[in-house]
Symmetry: C2
Subunit: 465 residues, 2 copies
Amino acid sequence: MSQKPSIPKGTRDFSPIEMVRRNYIFDVIKKSFKKYGFQQIETPAMENLSTLVGTGGDESDKLIFKILNSGDYLAKVDKETLSSQNSSLITHHISEKALHYDLTVPFARYVVQNQNDITFPFRRFQIQPVWRADKPQKGRYREFYQCDADIIGSDSLLNEVDLIKMIDDVFTELFKGKLNYTVSINNRKILSGIVKYFGVEDKFEQIVVVIDKLDKIGEQGVINELEAIGLGDIALKMLTLIYSKEFLETEEIKKPQSQLDQTIGMLNWLSRNVNNTEEGANELLLVFESLKKLGLKTAKVIFDPTLARGLGYYTGTIIEVKVENFPSITGGGRYDDLTGKFGLKNVSGVGISFGADRIYDVLLDNNLYPEFKGDSTQVLFTNQGEADENRFLPMLFQLREAGINAELYTEKAKWQKQMVFAEKKGVKFIVSANEHGEMFVKEMKGTDKKPFSSIDELLTIIQHS
Amino acid sequence: MSQKPSIPKGTRDFSPIEMVRRNYIFDVIKKSFKKYGFQQIETPAMENLSTLVGTGGDESDKLIFKILNSGDYLAKVDKETLSSQNSSLITHHISEKALHYDLTVPFARYVVQNQNDITFPFRRFQIQPVWRADKPQKGRYREFYQCDADIIGSDSLLNEVDLIKMIDDVFTELFKGKLNYTVSINNRKILSGIVKYFGVEDKFEQIVVVIDKLDKIGEQGVINELEAIGLGDIALKMLTLIYSKEFLETEEIKKPQSQLDQTIGMLNWLSRNVNNTEEGANELLLVFESLKKLGLKTAKVIFDPTLARGLGYYTGTIIEVKVENFPSITGGGRYDDLTGKFGLKNVSGVGISFGADRIYDVLLDNNLYPEFKGDSTQVLFTNQGEADENRFLPMLFQLREAGINAELYTEKAKWQKQMVFAEKKGVKFIVSANEHGEMFVKEMKGTDKKPFSSIDELLTIIQHS
């Protein structure tokens, strides 16, 4: 009774070479997280369904993978409920647990549950898979890794500065200066200030949804949709303001200057000219002034007044990192009441999430992975029969004891087959013996076959090649 | 609408110090895996339900956490099926995916699916959580990590030798010679040989189930149960044989000798005296003779003819590692037809699984964790106002650039509160400034406050302490 094996759509297996590349990305990110004082935690894959629902809105709820209760889960559902055949009604009777769809909600739950043991401000990082019942498509998976760093219990904007500097560190290391990327920054308060400036704050959420579509429907599309929700001729004016056209016309911003100076000019202009944007603009000014003082390695950090990142839980700074032709590879922002749902009010936090899977694709497409050395088997003892096994087995363990990744080919196979094995596994050295028991070591890529007669000689040759 | 937050029973959060300890265990295991030529893969947490069911038997099927289909999952279930209220019948209509309950079945699926890209023998390792709807109890969780290493596509017993030597390496490093542990080895063919020797092979499975209970019901209990399944007076004879009493009476085994020599004596005796056990005994003899030649560091490796490890998929060698007062911390064995279910016949494999969560508990109970250094924040810049922020912010980034994990306290908080923060986070150095702008660095545990006036001086002090 055999079946053709497959895996659920939107999920992936990772082969050895893919794992080496993924671990490289995780290691770079983890190193930066630690350098900035973040400490790792892990939360279970499964949370109580009640922890997850109603946190990210209806759309998020639909994305949650729910877990069927164990045992005779239907026994306690009453006949009437069951016969309604109403899926969303019955779900709550047969499912109490679900897979987390991000690491932020579990983190908020963790903070509240452990608030007495945590010293605030708490810098935590978390690298785990998350699951979303999204429609699978290129670059969008149903199971993927997030690498989150958050600072909770501090409203200092120095935290924003730290996060942006950390983004700069991570992508400078990963991209090696060979790939342009943009860190877009906005502040939710600027967006709401502009909307208030035009007196249409009752339509704030709708406006955000429309503005968020710029990439998809273009400027005229946005204007049409804004008019459609009843903004009339305000639509064009608001858009001209939000899309920065006006800033860029002013003398102080137009004249040639650095990216950061231009941004600072834009924020100053906004703060002076558009009532209600002062608070958000001043917050961002502090961030940009600090970045200017501290300097950046490779990040192009811009102020993007159109950046909305959905409605979500953000209340202040919003951050998004993009490279050309890819969806956002990192994003985050400040939230003022993430833990409120779980009973802990007025705790502000800010965080970012590196999307490891998209970063993986970016590095692959741009040929940016380093050559990986020493992670796989370095030495293969070939095996042409029992004499080789007896001869090489003790040496195999002596090499391993010396910290060298080594293997003995365990099968009685033809020489050619053993060479293919060594080739595919990326082995660096091949050890063999001839019929007289003379032993040789050879670099896979070389032709020079060196004789040796003891483990010490073998070690010397390997360590000095 | 606040709720008291909690997590599903049988699952756990891991705090920063717990994560440091867990990563230590994973790193030791991973290093050994690589040294022995194993390559890492990962498979999705979710597999198709059909991949998982019917692989480990009915008992295993009950342990599988099933995932509810997305959307209106009841729409396609016909009314009659639904009104039956038969959970196990309806499950297959509303759930197509499930969480893997081990890493072996997903590995078998992976091997078959990728057989054309894999060069055999394939040494793979995999470190991931698994989920089981088990009754939660001390040391038994519903979500826990397995660290698996398997060699597939080779029936050489040298693979068994490698795995046992690797167990020796891992626990020598983790236990530092301070904790006794036993590696019990059996071979399924010896057990079936003994059963056949008594002519009751039709009762093999029942007998294994009973013998497996020795720890729980004692020797007399086992005899009673064997008699109950109709073995009559064979029960006692078989047991005397299986429990080695006879071996230990023979002259060649009784005389003082090494553990391994005694084992080798037992196996020789068995092979000579009990028909049908030759094949299994000879396999184990090869393993034990190799171990004797190669030597072991700290592992006590014994032959345990009662070791059964359930019925599962094992067909040859069975391995189990125990320390006193704990359930098995590592286990594994050889299987001859794991991939058969997925259409690839006659591929033999052997593997072991380190139980990271139990090893964690063993190390904790025996106080065997090393002191962890350098993983957390090493330097904290204190913050007594804006002057400190301006002064220390550039230095903070210069320290990080020099590879030092550092933080600036972002809040305007009392000195005492900042010291508590530093204490709890395990910070090594505190940097501060007085009202004249003079800067000082002090070891948290010391009293000596050293003045410095530049980042270079600060670096020198830190790096030479």
